[in-house]
Symmetry: C2
Subunit: 318 residues, 2 copies
């Protein structure tokens, strides 16, 4: 079966080919890049508690009652953007999500997720208030195959004086939907996914998690906010629910995929700019089990071989 599907959020065109995942694979040595059974502390890691003399500037810390830090945001020593030029500028912070070197989204506690989302909210607010900033990107690279240079669990935040092309793409799709139907794309999508049931992972008070009908990223999961709030407007209840959802969903994902590399990308609303009113804050969680090959690079067409309903069943929070 070959079928063309269109991603409702991004507009991407995807070829669904039900048996491509059945191809034979030569056995190759798997890279088990990072052993979760490693110690809580690594002497050579610049992000471990006690090693923070390596850190250029602490922007914000969350501490325990003993005064030890649990999570913190620091200036990136090798920023993608900085304030040195006027053409393109922004700030780049690293959010260290736990003091535990051997932490990961597959084993973090509810408390650790809450610290992470609280830091994301606070730093997002701070960076978005700087002059000239129009967008704040938040993302996580977990393991080398997902682009991580350091293995200690962390997310990143990059503010910029421009709205990135991928965000503009989603804004245009949601604006076009509004023009055609006079309705909000994300509201309709949430309603449709709840009604459909098959692709649902979690139907919460504030967030809906599901496997999209079409995505260029084999195995992607999406989380869409049910209300029109930006990241800096999340309440404690939003953060509680997100933490519960991430903890339980990642446990299920590990059972299914194993301890694989992944990216979390947070697509939020623009800041200080009257554009993108129809776009809603959402997450893309992208497993990096498969690498794009030449076909995707050469054509910009993506081939998917997984059945969304099967994945949703495996990841579902009961």
């Amino acid at each position: 079966m070959k079928e063309i599907r269109k991603d409702m959020i991004t507009g991407d065109i995807v070829i669904y080919s039900s048996y491509r995942n059945k191809r034979p694979l030569d056995k190759v040595k798997a890279t088990s890049e990072f052993d979760n059974k490693e110690d809580e502390y690594s002497e050579s890691c610049p992000f471990c508690r006690g090693n923070t003399s390596n850190i250029k500037e602490i922007k914000e810390e969350i501490k325990n009652s003993k005064g030890e830090w649990l999570a913190m945001s620091v200036a990136n020593k090798f920023p993608i953007l900085d304030l040195s030029t006027n053409e393109i500028f922004g700030e780049h912070e690293v959010l260290i999500e736990t003091y535990r070197h051997n932490g990961s989204y597959y084993n973090m506690t509810n408390e650790e997720f809450k610290n992470t989302f609280t830091l994301i909210k606070n730093r997002y607010r701070e960076l978005s208030m700087r002059k000239g900033i129009e967008y704040v990107s938040v993302f996580k690279n977990s393991k080398r195959n997902a682009g991580a240079s350091l293995m200690h669990p962390h997310s990143q935040m990059v503010s910029s004086n421009l709205i990135p092309p991928e965000i503009m793409k989603e804004i245009k799709v949601s604006d076009a939907y509004k023009n055609e139907t006079d309705r909000n794309l994300y509201e309709d999508l949430v309603e449709m996914e709840i009604k459909n049931e098959d692709r649902l992972i979690y139907n919460g008070k504030y967030f809906l998690a599901f496997v999209p009908h079409a995505t260029r990223y084999n195995g992607e999961v999406r989380i869409v906010g049910k209300d029109d709030l930006n990241v800096d407007q999340w309440s404690f209840e939003h953060i509680d629910e997100l933490s519960y959802l991430f903890k339980n969903m990642f446990e299920n994902m590990e059972k299914y995929h194993g301890d694989i590399p992944f990216n979390v990308i947070l697509h939020s609303k623009t800041v200080n700019k009257e554009i993108g009113k129809e776009m809603r804050t959402h997450f893309h969680i992208v497993p990096r089990k498969y690498n794009f090959g030449g076909f995707e690079l050469t054509t910009g067409l993506y081939v998917c071989g997984s059945n969304p309903a099967d994945l949703a069943k495996a990841f579902r929070i009961k």
Copy 2:
């Protein structure tokens, strides 16, 4: 130094950040997926000479004087596209570039490259003549991290009833250039790179190889045809020169990068369609040393840390 550069061929916006490549990296076990010292024959490989009872359909063979095949094109058993639907259709062939299981672009002979490009030309011609076909994609995935499922050296060809989005993007860029300047983008680019010298790898009679001023793919090399010929119009002389170029450039690339995964993607002209007259046949050679991280996925902005002149110097054919 941060600088915004625009890729002249694709229109991609790239952030050049000269010191991002100096980031510290945690040591991780490297995946040496495939050992070039393996035998010429592998019992479990469906593409090895003698094992071809696994092959569904041989489309074309190049044989030696003993009647043994040296290279061949076969139907892909797990096609991305086939002729089963009208919505999107095409054919998918696998071009086995040498009978040697342990062959690779890093060690193939001039003769093996000639067989490869001859097969590409012939199969391209055949597939492009089918009814309703508008484009023929040719690409190579070398090793698992570049998307290869089988390690035996091969390229792939997928014809389609539509012009892929990535090709449309390049067509639009070259059409816009024509409208603005009344000149051909590729002619100007070839002239500019020859004049500049710094980024040149090889300046041949028919092809120019260089490291582009801007590319979203760290370390990419491009080869642009100096004339306006499509793949099926290549003469023996074109194929000779391409073989010489590939053999020598890949030797230099291996010296610099080691035996890393890569993709070769061939962007050719459209077929049976009055569109893309300003676009010229060219190759993108994409090393898969680095993986895109969340920043690239979330923004569609690409960060490059390599200096094109340094790479060109290392890859240059003297």
